[in-house]
Symmetry: D2
Subunit: 254 residues, 4 copies
């Protein structure tokens, strides 16, 4: 049966019907589900509850934009050279969402999920956090999910995500463990690193039910929204061209 | 004042506060707005009504996925070679959203908006459609928004978008004109081309208030959600690697 | 025969042999052809002469880099966020090679080739240039291949490409027509626009034998070399991170 | 001096002169250097000897193409949706050059260079190889540079690269160590894995003088040439569209 690998559960179409996530797109999805709900359905094969939906949107809006980041600047500079190809400029912006920016959401999700997955039934999360931090520090490795170059004391997104999760009854073991990890770090290192917004987002998504290995992809949906807005603004008020001229001037010999 | 070009309305942050779209991200956006609502806010500088939100989501979910399209296959094949870099695979998928796929949503939006913009006050949309179709056919140009390789008779997304727009009181001149354009084409050409889902999506977005020049970017948000799902599925049930081996085998000399 | 579309002339491999461009890669290509020669072979199905090779390399090095351009900056800023994925940073840099930067090489190639192709046998190129410029100016369209934001009087690459082409006996109708086009523009407009380096490159490539429709792709090979160098330099002397911090500072409210 | 980070050694331009790699582009580079030579100059700040140039080209052509790989297919499928944006299709193809394909050239370069760098003066390379293989196997880690899914017995590029390096007097410690590593693996594992073409390429580049951290970028120049050829062929003999239709048909329910 050489053909059988070429298939997908996600979507299909016949001349008069389009299916998505096992549902009729026109009849059951359009008008009834938000994009956020559909994204969760496609990743988990079941629709989110209202509480889960609220958390998913809170995470996505929290990571949509952070001003003139390297990612937003790259998208805008790409638009400068190829304004006919807005998909290329969005793609350029997403390409910077790697190990340094945005990727840490997924890295934190995997770090926490692996730790909990191998800790047996009903683990003591505070003790687990101490062990994790000790091991990482001994190995000279960074601890995912804590620290931020701008929000050095507290990342304003973090407290809000924990509060929303508590409100919706979705403050689960991953958010909890991440809090203990930050505490353990502070005690062991003798200096404060806050839980950052990306880390809290990754932990919250796993607690809501997003598979840890899909977190890094999921958060790109939010970032795409931010990049699209930057490109609309770039059309009206360009940064790319004057930034080039300034770089040209500053980098030129007298 | 050489610095003044380097700024954005979209987002900014200080150590203890993040602003997005003129609002406090943690206090006012997280928990209170969906990603779809935020995307509209960032493009138009005002939040959508519930009816507008329902239309925006209907459009985004309608364009999120269409099965094993070239775009989904490109994303999956890219993941095969660089699984550590999911942002690269999503970017590869978006790069195929150009003049042939997905781009037509934005092209239809611009086509309709320009026609209406230069037609004066309260134009007769049926007569305008006849003029547009006549001119395009004479010039040997394609008419944006009609025809589909699979949905030859009717695109199931189209009727649903028109019905939802009517329900929400948002069936405006762009959707109306597009319907007249399809009718005029059928009469002049003597054969049927339906309003396609991308075209109806583009018209609906302009009627809802998305700037025509931002439609091509806006729909990428929906497609990102579909691509992220394809990559999660690719992790579990790979298509890329067996497709390579099949292509290798079929393209090799005996 | 449903399988027959899935094949390529470019390359193939069996367990003990790799073919490329109809030749044995290990025995006949490695050690005997440069990358530039192979690129021409793959596009035209015959190997270039020494004179053609010299022109191809002259074009590729002429477009490899132009300092801190939007394309180089986008690549560097992408590297800042995803240093583990150098292919993503190179891709981001290439994505800005569109209608504004680098793309004009291919646009000029197509413009000249179409004009010559429809002008009949042994056309008077000076007269053809006058007609082309007149038509473009009447239609309010830009004329491909002339004008440059920095090199306002003369682009230093242009004279060198014409001289090299003359030396190698490869100064053909496309370079010649482009010169006439610039002259006709200056006379008609009453102001000087030089033949720019991208335009001369596009014309030279067609005279050498690169298919006009492949020029836009061919020049990307040169740009990739420049981007790879920028990323090596970015590793050692970062621009992306300090540029972000400066943008952050300058775009923040007091 | 807040401005000083915004500068580059690679290139700069004034209205009448363009510098690249410390040389005058028009006077000294065009007509005198190949693209391959310029790429080496930009990475190492000195021009390659004829022997080094021959090795660099041998490596670049050896990695330019390998038939209908995932990378070539992704580029072609992207072109299907956005034929107006060839840079997007090339970028999509490059994005698959990650940890699985092509990336191993750079990974092997770093593996060998780090091993040699920490082995002291005039190390016994055969003994070093035994230690490296033992350590990797104990840790359950893959050994970079050996094994290939198609070329199971011997990769035809490998013997050719070693022979060329010997011919040019450039068979240095990295190529030598890689050979010992393959031998040590075969003895320890009791089964044969050949030095693969990517691994030999990475080792050869370091022996020629390319900085190990730049190898992963450098090989992308060769791959760009292959992708550009695939896209020219795709224009004339499309694979993307029929592949979509076949995928659609095979993935559809009866």
């Amino acid at each position: 049966v050489p053909d059988e690998y070429l298939r997908t559960w996600i979507g299909s179409s016949t001349p008069d019907r389009i299916m998505i996530g096992g549902r009729d797109l026109a009849a059951d999805v359009m008008g009834n589900m938000t994009l956020t709900q559909l994204a969760f359905l496609l990743l988990t094969r079941h629709a989110p509850t209202p509480g889960q939906t609220r958390m998913l949107d809170a995470v996505l809006v929290s990571l949509a934009d952070h001003g003139l980041t390297p990612s937003a600047l790259a998208a805008r500079l790409t638009y400068t050279g190829a304004p006919e190809s807005v998909q290329g400029a969005v793609a350029a912006g997403l390409l910077g969402a790697g190990s340094v920016f945005l990727g840490p959401a997924g890295d934190t999700a995997l770090f926490l999920a692996e730790a909990i997955g191998s800790a047996g039934d009903r683990p003591d999360l505070a003790a687990l956090a101490v062990r994790l931090v000790t091991a990482r520090r001994r190995a000279g490795q960074r601890i995912p999910g804590i620290g931020h170059p701008v929000h050095k004391d507290a990342d304003p997104r973090t407290a809000r995500l924990y509060a929303l999760a508590a409100e919706e009854g979705l403050l689960g073991p991953h958010l909890e463990l991440l809090g203990h990890v930050a505490d353990a770090h502070d005690r062991q290192a003798g200096r404060h690193l806050p839980v950052n917004g990306a880390g809290a987002a990754g932990a919250a998504l796993v607690d809501v039910g997003v598979p840890p290995g899909s977190v890094r992809g999921f958060v790109l949906i939010g970032r795409t929204a931010g990049l699209v807005a930057h490109l609309a603004e770039e059309q009206a008020e360009p940064i790319g061209m004057p930034l080039w001229l300034e770089a040209e001037r500053r980098s030129s010999p007298e």
